[in-house]
């Protein structure tokens, strides 16, 4: 299922599963990720799954590119094995104070805000990967008519909890960080919990997300 393995620098394998972004390819990436993770191979220092790539970082004192590439190429994964998938419900408030880019999205999509939000909340989203910053989930796919590019000039600070869209994807900003996604609302729910070291992420690759709409009062209530 891996199409090609290249090197990324001198201490990482770049496993290529294809160029398209879809759930089938991504599910393969995730299967490989969990399989290799569970093998607990000595000298593997990180596994980074994304839409259609898996990067395997290793300790140069233990592996060379050629030796580890062979090991990974020889891995067989049973097709039948199903991924464990959780359905996670996440509350989002779309009050004016939180929907930072709703006007821009209205203009770009030529849809009224209520229609945009109705479409946004009517779908379940699949988690392709988590990362960039701790716990941030990359979710998809938005309907065709909901797709737009990121902001021309990224924000220096996107508030924690912001829920944004770009292209076919949506995400949740787990920390205040720079970013260029179109922000539609904010969740009061903690998506990344540093104190839970065994499972800090609320959302993991392969999970399904259902956003539901809450009022400002409910947002404040949950936040408290």
């Amino acid at each position: 299922m891996i199409k090609n393995i290249l090197n990324l620098g001198d201490a990482a394998l770049y496993c290529d599963f294809g160029n398209e972004v879809n759930q089938e390819i991504n599910s393969n990436v995730i299967k490989y990720f969990y399989h290799i993770k569970n093998l607990n191979l000595k000298g593997i220092t990180n596994l980074t799954p994304s839409y259609n790539k898996l990067i395997i970082s290793y300790d140069l004192n233990i592996h060379t590119f050629i030796s580890l590439k062979k090991k990974i190429e020889n891995i067989e994964i049973k097709e039948s094995k199903k991924l464990e998938k959780n359905l996670i419900k996440i509350p989002v408030c779309c009050d004016n104070d939180f929907a930072l880019d709703i006007k821009r999205v209205e203009n770009k999509l030529k849809l009224k805000s209520e229609i945009i939000l109705e479409k946004f909340f009517s779908k379940n989203y699949f988690c392709y990967m988590t990362g960039f910053v701790a716990g941030m989930p990359f979710l998809g796919d938005l309907n065709q008519e909901m797709r737009l590019k990121r902001l021309e000039t990224p924000r220096v600070k996107v508030p924690k909890g912001s829920v944004g869209i770009t292209e076919q994807f949506c995400n949740i900003y787990t920390f205040e960080t720079p970013g260029g996604w179109n922000i539609l609302g904010n969740t009061p729910q903690n998506i990344f919990d540093t104190s839970n070291q065994s499972n800090p992420n609320l959302v993991n690759p392969g999970d399904t997300i259902k956003f539901y709409r809450i009022t400002l009062d409910q947002h404040n209530e949950i936040k408290r």
Partner: protein, 318 residues
């Protein structure tokens, strides 16, 4: 603990980006947590060897300017690694200290680490153990994700640094070492090398780039000739590793460092080889660097040589 039994430093001045660091945390990229850890691993290793501490003991890392510390407690030794200027204030007066030498501190003595020289990072530790909390097996502070001791924040004035253990069988040691610098950064071509025009590929290796002030533990931004993208200024977001050089939409290189975001969507033109990483991070803003292309096989050999050199330095500690 009764206060008279405590051994601790009080921070009179925090310095710049002063944090606890060790070798960092592995196997968390998939949830978005980078390695972190000491930026310059060689100086981290040398410091713990000089102090006869465990190889992964926490140390205090600082950038450009270190902390000014006042010590309270039983006699203790400290040591500093990196190219660092500092003063030691005792009852007998003020003396200038040298890196890679161990010094005795008595109750009430002070250490003022006032500057790194022509370099960015320096390291401070003691013949003992700081009282730190561990997060995913590491005490490294990642200020971006607020992970680590001190609530994941850098040190601030008046903070007290606890020492929970002092090694009494310690032998005072030193190393004669002037540090090692680098001008050409060796890289391996990246997975998106063909995203850039031939003339830009040539410029990347022929012309020099200047390190800008927008550089920290997450990344190093460079400026120089614009690198022209002929395919797409973005790729589908995918994993990153330390040392990856991405080209932003504006055509400028940005090098991923120890606290980098784990996923990125800019094309990768090249990756800095592991052997050159410690010396890369020590280059100060304003420095000019040139990139040199090496093969994967050469990079693997160069890393082994670099490690041998580090072990050789450790064996010269006397």
């Amino acid at each position: 603990m009764k206060s008279k039994d405590r051994n601790y430093f009080k921070i009179l001045r925090a310095g710049i980006n002063t944090t606890y660091q060790d070798l960092g945390r592995n196997n968390l990229y998939h949830i978005g947590i980078p390695f972190s850890g000491a930026m310059d691993k060689r100086n981290f290793q040398l410091l713990n060897s000089l102090l006869q501490n465990d190889y992964n003991s926490p140390v205090i890392e600082f950038a450009y300017q270190g902390p000014h510390l006042k010590y309270f407690g039983k006699d203790i030794f400290f040591c500093i690694s990196g190219n660092v200027s500092f003063k030691i204030m005792t009852e007998e007066g003020v003396v200038d200290g040298n890196s890679y030498q161990c010094y005795l501190l008595k109750n009430g003595d002070e250490v003022d680490i006032y500057s790194t020289n022509k370099s960015v990072y320096g390291y401070f530790s003691i013949n003992g153990t700081f009282g730190v909390d561990y997060y995913w097996g590491s005490c490294s502070i990642n200020t971006q994700a607020q992970i680590g001791p001190n609530n994941g924040n850098k040190f601030s004035k008046d903070l007290e640094i606890e020492i929970i253990d002092i090694n009494n069988s310690f032998n005072k040691r030193r190393l004669d070492y002037l540090g090692s610098t680098i001008e050409n950064i060796r890289v391996i071509k990246g997975t998106n090398y063909d995203y850039f025009s031939e003339s830009s590929q040539n410029k990347f290796f022929k012309e020099s780039f200047r390190i800008t002030k927008l550089s920290d533990r997450m990344g190093m931004r460079l400026e120089g000739p614009k690198i022209e993208n002929i395919i797409d200024p973005n790729i589908k977001s995918e994993g990153l590793v330390k040392g990856v050089i991405q080209i932003t939409s504006a055509g400028d290189p940005i090098i991923m460092l120890s606290d980098h975001g784990t996923i990125g969507g800019y094309p990768k033109i090249a990756t800095v080889i592991s052997a050159d990483y410690d010396r890369l991070v020590q280059l100060t803003p304003g420095s000019n660097i040139k990139f040199k292309d090496v093969s994967l096989e050469d990079a693997e050999t160069l890393y082994k040589l670099y490690q041998m050199e580090t072990n050789n330095l450790i064996s010269q500690i006397k």
